[in-house]
């Protein structure tokens, strides 16, 4: 299963994502599902300990949410302010309406400079835009330099998590991949040895690169600078060496002032990995001498999401990944089951906005337990948004007709109390007198792994009418 190549979604061309189906395949390997669940729960618990050490944690979340809401509701002003300050800092600023325009801009910059070798640090935006295949088709050698990203790139998979792209892989599998592509000894699965091999392999790529591409964690409107957070220093090495630096960013990542930054930096790594801060927090305020620095501001559906009254809050996301780590469904279905660049709860509220029909199953890949909302450092009401997307899915007719029929039938009964009682009594009687095998069959999907409740002889209502004849039934 882990060998299966992950296909990058092509909007409007692929079959709908079947989350439940993919989750069933994932769960077929129970030991592996347990391992995946426990790996991520470990990160969630580390996050809890890190958050507990910050005495004003809940106040920080409140502040972060308020700053983001302010920035998003004044996005036009802050984006143009950022553009002006960035240009004043010596950066070139580009605007991309969609993925295709973004990819064309990147390719144009490389082509003009005669660059053929691009080293990237982790950027989910470029995954979202399908940049790698676009550039590779045009003869560019693209190397992802984040360790996890490099692993999945070599395996021709997509990331299964936005912060931990190779979390679905065991070290033995990484060893196999490195043996195949980097020539490490067969069977070598020591994490330190594997990391050293990756470092050696990547050093050569860094030194030979004509250009580097990074994402941005935060773009600061006031200063025209931006911040890149990594644990591996790979973005820094790329920026320090390459003569061309391209920084791609979703337009929702702009924050107003430099003094807003600490609020987010205190939350980001603690929420994501349980670290107090990432190993590298790099502030970029302009190109090095002789370097060209290009910033690409990408929309790709973000203004549409911003215009949606029910879902604009999802753009507050700072991509920490905490909602994935805490989500009991994500932990037991794996990132690839979502079929979208951003998986988990936040992916399930962002991606339906791009193509509701294709991603109709994602809002239902949740029990609405609300853990995501409670863990989110910028207080996105994720479970509320999942609930609201569900309404749009059924309104548009993308829900199964069986489910629709079942719901309509239940509503019909709920709205007719006498009929409800009669049907309930009949069903319970049937369940009591039928052989166990028949009941199991009749209980359908429920009955595959669970017993149905033992049917009592009488309902509470029947008991109440008899036992509390003077009871106030409040009949209207």
């Amino acid at each position: 299963m882990s060998k299966r190549a992950f296909e990058l979604p092509v909007l409007g061309q692929s079959a709908p994502v079947d989350h439940a189906g993919a989750a069933a395949v994932f769960n077929a390997d129970v030991a592996r599902t347990d391992w995946h669940d426990e790996s991520l729960w470990f990160v969630r618990e580390k996050r809890d300990r890190a958050a507990a050490l910050v005495s004003d944690w809940e106040e920080l979340r409140e502040r972060a949410s308020a700053i983001k809401e302010h920035a998003l509701t004044h996005l036009d002003e802050y984006l143009t302010q950022f553009e002006a300050s960035a240009i004043a800092n010596g950066m070139h600023v580009h605007w991309a309406l969609d993925a295709d325009e973004h990819n064309r801009i990147v390719h144009g910059i490389l082509e003009q400079a005669g660059a053929h070798k691009l080293v990237k640090s982790k950027s989910m935006l470029t995954e979202e835009c399908g940049l790698n295949p676009y550039l590779e088709a045009r003869g560019i050698d693209v190397v992802d330099s984040d360790l996890g990203e490099r692993i999945v790139q070599l395996r021709k998979e997509g990331p299964s998590h936005i912060v931990l792209p190779a979390i679905h892989l065991k070290r033995g599998e990484v060893g196999e991949t490195f043996h195949e592509f980097l020539g490490t000894p067969l069977g070598m699965d020591d994490p330190i040895a594997l990391t050293r091999a990756a470092r050696e392999h990547l050093r050569g790529k860094f030194l030979a690169a004509d250009a580097t591409l990074t994402g941005m964690n935060f773009a600061v409107a006031e200063s025209g600078g931006f911040v890149v957070c990594t644990n591996e220093g790979n973005a820094d090495l790329g920026m320090a060496l390459a003569p061309i630096h391209i920084a791609s960013v979703g337009i929702e990542k702009v924050i107003p002032r430099l003094e807003d930054l600490p609020v987010f930096l205190r939350l980001l790594a603690r929420s994501g990995t349980g670290q107090a801060i990432t190993s590298y927090t790099t502030h970029v305020h302009g190109p090095r001498d002789g370097q060209a620095l290009h910033v690409i501001l990408v929309d790709n559906g973000r203004t549409k999401q911003l215009a949606r009254e029910e879902f604009w809050g999802s753009l507050k996301c700072i991509r920490c990944g905490a909602c994935m780590n805490t989500c009991p469904v994500y932990r037991r279905s794996g990132g690839h089951s979502y079929g979208s660049t951003v998986p988990g709860p936040i992916g399930s509220v962002l991606t339906p906005g791009l193509d509701l029909e294709r991603y109709a199953s994602l809002p239902f890949a949740s029990t609405l337990c609300g853990s995501c909302t409670a863990v989110c450092p910028v207080k996105i009401d994720l479970d509320g948004q999942l609930f609201r997307w569900r309404q749009h899915v059924t309104e548009r007719g993308y829900s199964s007709s069986t489910k629709g029929l079942a719901i309509r039938t239940s509503v019909l009964l709920f709205d007719r109390p006498r009929l409800f009682r009669a049907v309930g009594a009949l069903a319970r009687l049937g369940q009591r007198i039928m052989p166990r095998a028949v009941v199991r069959f009749a209980s359908g999907v429920w009955g595959r792994t669970r017993e149905a409740p033992v049917p009592p002889r009488e309902s509470f209502r029947t008991w109440y009418r008899r036992e509390r004849p003077d009871g106030r039934r409040g009949v209207r």
Binding site: A20, A23, A24, F26, N27, W41, A52, V54, E58, T326, P328, V329, R332, P363, F364, A365, T367, L368, C369, G370, S371, T373, A374, F387, R390, Q391, V393, T394, E395, S399, K403, G404, I407, S410, V411, F414, D415, P417, F420, A427, V445, W446, R448, T449, R450, E451, P453, V454, P455, P456, E458, F460, Y464, R468, G471, R472, R473, G474, V475, R476
Partner: protein, 256 residues
């Protein structure tokens, strides 16, 4: 105070013993409750399945039946959250109805929340309940995060747990510490059949946590979670009985 008890559809049909226990406890505590007829359901199953529009009539019926009560005690955290969140917003076809919806939403509470906040834990000792089991408590996500029955593990706030505070009034009871005390059980309404594999896995993982910590019984304020967990446990013949908090307080748990 004019108080009503709402017995959700599935409790009425499958778990009358729980509703009888809740009624008994309330009566013994001197709380007079009506159990009005006419609303079998709160509309949550349809709404969470994406059919809020189709379920609107059910919720409207609920609001209509409970409009004049000053306190509405719901015997399920999940249903209570649905009413509190949506009664106000869905009933909007005329101004009067909207007012009733908002009022009903505000006055709706859940059984344990009512005992803790309105009756007070001190009064519960008078029930004289005994339950000699090592209990794993499952609060249920909607009661936990939607109603605030306890401090969820994600939030960095002062710890509290209303359900455990209530159960601590019971003689002989021992509360088991769990590895993941507030992990979801995986029921999730239609999620249980729409995503059967993940739902089953989540439930089995809860059961494993209970076994690891040597729990002899599971107690919850939400029978919908228990319908799923108990269904899994019985299929696997685990022999872990599951009860609603009301049954423990009424002294009827395990005495059917």
């Amino acid at each position: 105070m004019k108080t009503a008890l709402f017995v959700p559809c599935y409790v009425d049909q499958f778990y009358p013993r729980v509703a009888i226990a809740a009624l008994t406890v309330l009566e013994r505590l001197g709380v007079n409750v009506d159990v009005p007829e006419g609303a079998a359901c709160c509309g949550q199953p349809s709404a969470n399945a994406g059919y809020a529009r189709q379920g609107r009539s059910t919720l409207e019926r609920f609001v209509d039946v409970y409009a004049d009560y000053e306190k509405i005690i719901v015997l399920s955290g999940s249903c209570a959250v649905h009413v509190r969140l949506h009664a106000g917003e869905i009933i909007a076809h005329d101004r009067l109805a909207e007012t009733a919806g908002i009022r009903v939403a505000r006055r709706t509470t859940e059984f344990c929340a009512f005992l803790h906040d309105d009756v007070g834990v001190a009064a519960l000792a008078g029930l004289g309940a005994r339950f000699e089991e090592r209990v794993a408590v499952h609060i249920g996500c909607h009661g936990l995060r939607g109603l605030g029955l306890a401090a969820p593990s994600e939030l960095q706030i002062k710890p509290f747990d209303k359900v455990c505070a209530i159960l601590s009034s019971v003689g002989g009871i021992e509360l088991a510490e769990l590895s993941r005390p507030d992990e979801c059980c995986g029921f999730g309404g239609t999620f249980s059949v729409g995503e059967p594999d993940v739902s089953t896995k989540m439930g089995r993982d809860r059961l494993r946590d209970y076994r690891t910590h040597a729990a002899t019984a599971v107690v919850s304020p939400d029978m919908s979670c228990l319908m799923h967990l108990d269904g899994l446990a019985r299929r696997e013949r685990l022999g872990v009985p599951m009860y609603h908090v009301a049954e423990v307080l009424a002294g009827t748990a395990g005495k059917a």
